[in-house]
């Protein structure tokens, strides 16, 4: 993979930190130990800056290995930050004590990609949902009542609390995961590919649920996905990430209709659409623009 990542400076520079931003990430760098003895550290994020405003959805789109998931995990405190800052509601949260991190869980929550492994198979749905409540010091009875309301909120039957995850379909499990994220009224939910393991029709209903929840509660989403059409449907603004750097960021309509960065354009054109004539046009445009130069390196050249 060529290292000549063109950070096209004609594209939007990361916007100035707006005063009202809920979450601000500046020049975030994350690296992991290299494989092998004394191997250099592998840089996963190379200076990412972004912000999410209250009630806003910021879509993060990129290919596998681009680092999009790592951004979410860094915000959640699940991977160590090498340098840069993460500010949540005016407070630096990139290096906080374990106690403060636990308190932050009241405000920052997550919905993971895989609803099959993000729920403990041996805990009932009720136990899973009351976990964050107990963490915040709810009593058992309060927690039970809250779990019932949560299940209702994500349109699952009330008796679901007594069942094990394996008794549910993928879409229903993802609803459980959403309910867990909502349990303590967070202000930001990191959605890490929440629908990529789901069927098409299920995907739509889960996305609709997420939108509806946002409208009602004003929660912000950092929505990570590899699927531009999902991102466009969900996000107010979109950031395109490649090799650990944001190559383009802007309003959803702008980025997905008139992308400025060639990488975004290649992403857009290479995703097939369910329209025979339209897809032929896109394919030809893609081949004209990107494939002609070199074939068979396993990557389109941009």
């Amino acid at each position: 993979m060529p290292d000549s990542v063109s950070t096209d400076m004609s594209t939007d520079p990361p916007p100035e930190t707006p005063a009202g931003a809920l979450l601000t990430v500046e020049d975030l760098r994350v690296s992991f130990p290299g494989k092998g003895w004394r191997a250099p550290r592998a840089e996963v994020l190379r200076g990412v800056s972004l912000d999410v405003r209250p009630g806003e959805t910021l879509g993060l789109v990129g290919e596998s290995g681009s680092g999009k998931t790592t951004i979410g995990r860094a915000i959640l405190g699940l991977v160590p930050v090498h340098s840069g800052t993460i500010t949540f509601a005016g407070e630096r949260v990139d290096r906080v004590t374990a106690r403060r991190r636990r308190e932050l869980s009241r405000d920052i929550q997550v919905v993971f990609q895989d609803p099959y492994t993000s729920l403990n198979p041996s805990l009932t749905v009720g136990d899973t949902l009351s976990e964050p409540l107990l963490g915040q010091g709810y009593g058992a009875r309060e927690a039970r009542a809250r779990v019932a309301r949560l299940l209702e909120r994500v349109e699952l039957p009330a008796d679901a609390a007594h069942r094990l995850p394996r008794e549910f379909s993928g879409g229903q499990r993802q609803r459980v995961a959403i309910a867990r994220a909502l349990a303590i009224d967070p202000r930001l939910i990191v959605c890490d590919e929440p629908v990529s393991a789901l069927d098409l029709t299920t995907q739509k209903t889960v996305l609709d649920l997420l939108l509806e929840i946002q409208e009602q509660t004003g929660v912000s989403y950092l929505f990570v996905s590899h699927d531009l059409s999902v991102i466009r449907f969900m996000s107010h603004r979109v950031a395109v990430i490649r090799h650990g750097e944001i190559v383009e960021m802007g309003e959803a309509a702008e980025v997905t209709a008139g992308p400025r960065h060639p990488y975004t354009r290649a992403l857009l054109l290479s995703a097939p659409v369910a329209d025979v004539a339209g897809q032929r046009e896109r394919r030809e445009a893609f081949e004209r623009e990107f494939r002609a130069r070199e074939a068979g390196t396993g990557e389109a050249v941009i």
Binding site: R53, E131, P132, R166, L200, T201, T202, P272, V276
Partner: protein, 613 residues
């Protein structure tokens, strides 16, 4: 899995019975538990049960046979054997309990910490554990006896140290893998403290293996201890089973029967422990603590005994090769059968664990002509992969074609002998799987994985096969075939791996390619290239392709015709244009309605709907 599915699962969840009950229903489990319980009780109540005092000896009775009040007779020193046996059991089992307690107290928390936190503690602890494992247990025990004195209990503590690695390594390994589970991350994000996470999410997973390990290690501890005593290294006058054996051995010429009782006690205890461990494993692993399998069909398949797909169905319809079974109500062009691939009224059934069968594909009609790409579209659980697998004759265990006819190149393959079918696969039909990486063997180079099948199938020389493999690699648009040829699978990307698999599929010049979600695991740009490659192969070689996919965009891109599957039936077939642009079936319309391609981008964010910071 579809959202609308009722909460009741397709495969009934195993009833959540208690582990203990399940163990006792296991005949070996029940027997071994009963034997162990009897031994433990007898030993616990030794003072009440034994006819004499363990220390009392009357030389008059030495080697005396069984008599009233002394059912097992007397040993060489005139001591009552039953008494010695019961009190000896106390010491033997007590010693094992001490060794186990030490091992558990050190190994389990150590393993938990090392596995959960990793870091320096993990490195240091693993180093020490490896060192302990390298020590020969018997030699260490002999040495510690020399240094610490001949007390059984001290030796048992040393033994405890020596068996600690068994627990440490077990727990550490499991915890290290659980630590990376998403549900542990979710618990962290939920604000739980580490001890709580460990108790709720981690201990539950290591509990079962620890219990099994305890049963196994107690057997080992008892055996080692008896061995020491037998060698005469224990404390001289404490009655233990090993000491009794030692004494019996000294008098084996005079009274061979003295060996019997301690030997029996040892054998019974160790045997019962091993059998109990096996039964416990069965009982605990049945609990469903493992993450549920993702594919419903696979889950149904894995639980049942094998029925070879080819042989079991030979009775179904052996002679239907030339007589098409036209079914009504299917919009497929059912009358005339395509020359390359023709499927009529195909049904696939699985044997259920509790007996009986479940049909997952109910009467599918499908045709692929030469040079045609047909898409088989559906959501998970629709039976599309099962249909593809039956065409290839590679249904998982427990599954079989229960009805219908499949012809490939005019030949009926339902009921075809496996040998003949195998010859057909690869020469006429080839398969491109979904996960490119897991379908390449990491231990062999890409080249050898291409060359070997060709040498076997085409019976050509090695040099010729290598030449063909390089040629194939360049045909699948790999820039540097030689380098890829010499690479191991981990050295190439996912897209490259999929090209290699397509090259492998093309190696014997097939007429029909069955591709099961060939681009699902790939990024969109790589997907576009692989789709382009399939299109080119179809055009240049007149290849027929059956493309199983859930992605309607892929269908629009590549397919001439489409069949839409739902719940094991084809609900609609037609040209790609017709199905995508003028769908007739409500389900197809629903599928298309869920496509987000045409959904408008979300409107820009308005501060008005924001909450107050």
């Amino acid at each position: 899995m579809s959202e609308g599915a009722p909460i009741a699962p397709a495969v009934p969840a195993a009833p959540r019975t208690g582990t203990v009950r399940r163990l006792l229903r296991h005949p070996l489990g029940l027997a071994s538990a009963a034997v162990l319980a009897a031994i433990v009780l007898a030993v616990l109540f030794a003072p009440a049960l034994s006819p004499a005092d363990p220390g009392v000896s009357s030389l008059r009775d030495a080697f005396g046979g069984p008599s009233a009040g002394h059912p097992l007779g007397f040993d060489s020193a005139g001591r009552d054997i039953l008494t010695r046996l019961l009190y000896g059991g106390r010491n033997t089992l007590g010693g094992a309990v001490i060794a186990l307690s030490v091992a558990l107290a050190l190994g389990v928390p150590g393993g938990l910490l090392a596995g959960y936190y990793g870091g320096w503690f993990d490195s240091a602890a693993s180093w020490i554990v490896n060192l302990v494992m390298a020590l020969p247990a018997m030699v260490v025990l002999l040495a510690s006896r020399a240094i610490l004195g001949p007390t059984v209990w001290v030796l048992m503590v040393v033994l405890g140290f020596l068996v600690t690695p068994a627990f440490f390594r077990l727990v550490r390994g499991i915890v290290a893998s659980v630590r990376n589970e998403l549900y542990v991350d979710a618990a962290k994000v939920s604000g739980l403290r580490d001890p709580r996470i460990v108790v709720r999410h981690v201990l539950i997973v290591v509990r079962a293996p620890i219990i099994i390990q305890v049963a196994l290690v107690s057997g080992i501890a008892i055996g080692l201890q008896a061995g020491l005593e037998f060698l005469g290294i224990g404390s001289g006058d404490t009655p233990t089973w090993g000491a009794m054996l030692n004494e019996a051995f000294k008098n084996i010429q005079r009274a061979p029967s003295l060996m019997l009782w301690p030997g029996l006690a040892l054998g019974l205890t160790s045997g019962a422990l091993v059998l109990l461990a096996a039964a416990l494993r069965d009982a605990l692993e049945d609990r469903g603590t493992a993450p549920a399998s993702r594919r419903r069909s696979r889950r149904a398949a894995s639980a049942t005994p094998a029925i070879p797909a080819g042989s079991a169905v030979s009775a179904v319809s052996p002679g239907t090769g030339g007589t098409p079974q036209v079914t009504n109500g299917t919009p497929a062009d059912a009358g005339e059968r395509a020359g390359l691939l023709s499927v009529r009224d195909l049904a696939v059934s699985y044997v259920l664990p509790g007996g009986g069968t479940r049909e997952v594909v109910h009467g599918v009609d499908l045709d692929v002509r030469a040079g045609e790409i047909v898409g088989l579209v559906g959501e998970s659980g629709s039976g599309k992969t099962q249909t593809a697998f039956s065409i290839l004759g590679i249904l998982p265990e427990g599954g079989r074609v229960s009805r219908g006819s499949v012809t490939v190149g005019g030949e009926e393959i339902v009921g075809m002998p496996e040998r003949r079918h195998r010859a057909l696969r690869g020469s006429v039909v080839a398969y491109v799987p979904q996960e490119p990486m897991s379908n390449l063997d990491p231990a062999f180079t890409v080249g050898s994985q291409l060359v070997e099948p060709m040498r076997h199938k085409l019976r050509i020389s090695r040099a010729e096969a290598v030449r063909r493999a390089l040629d194939l690699l360049s045909q699948v648009e790999i820039a540097d075939p030689r380098r890829t040829f010499d690479s191991y699978p981990h050295e190439i990307s996912g897209g490259m791996a999929q090209r290699v698999l397509i090259a492998g599929a093309m190696s014997c010049d097939p007429e029909l390619l069955v591709a099961d979600e060939p681009t699902t695991a790939l990024d969109v740009m790589v997907q576009a290239e692989v789709l382009g490659l399939l299109r080119r192969l179809q055009r240049e070689r007149g290849l027929g392709v059956l493309l199983v996919t859930h992605n309607l965009g892929v269908v629009a891109d590549l397919c001439d015709r489409v069949a839409v599957m739902r719940q094991g039936r084809i609900v609609e077939t037609g040209t790609a244009e017709q199905v995508l642009h003028a769908p007739r079936d409500p389900y197809t319309r629903k599928l298309l309605g869920a496509v987000l391609d045409d959904a408008p981008a979300r409107r820009p964010w308005q501060p008005s709907n924001a909450e107050v910071v």
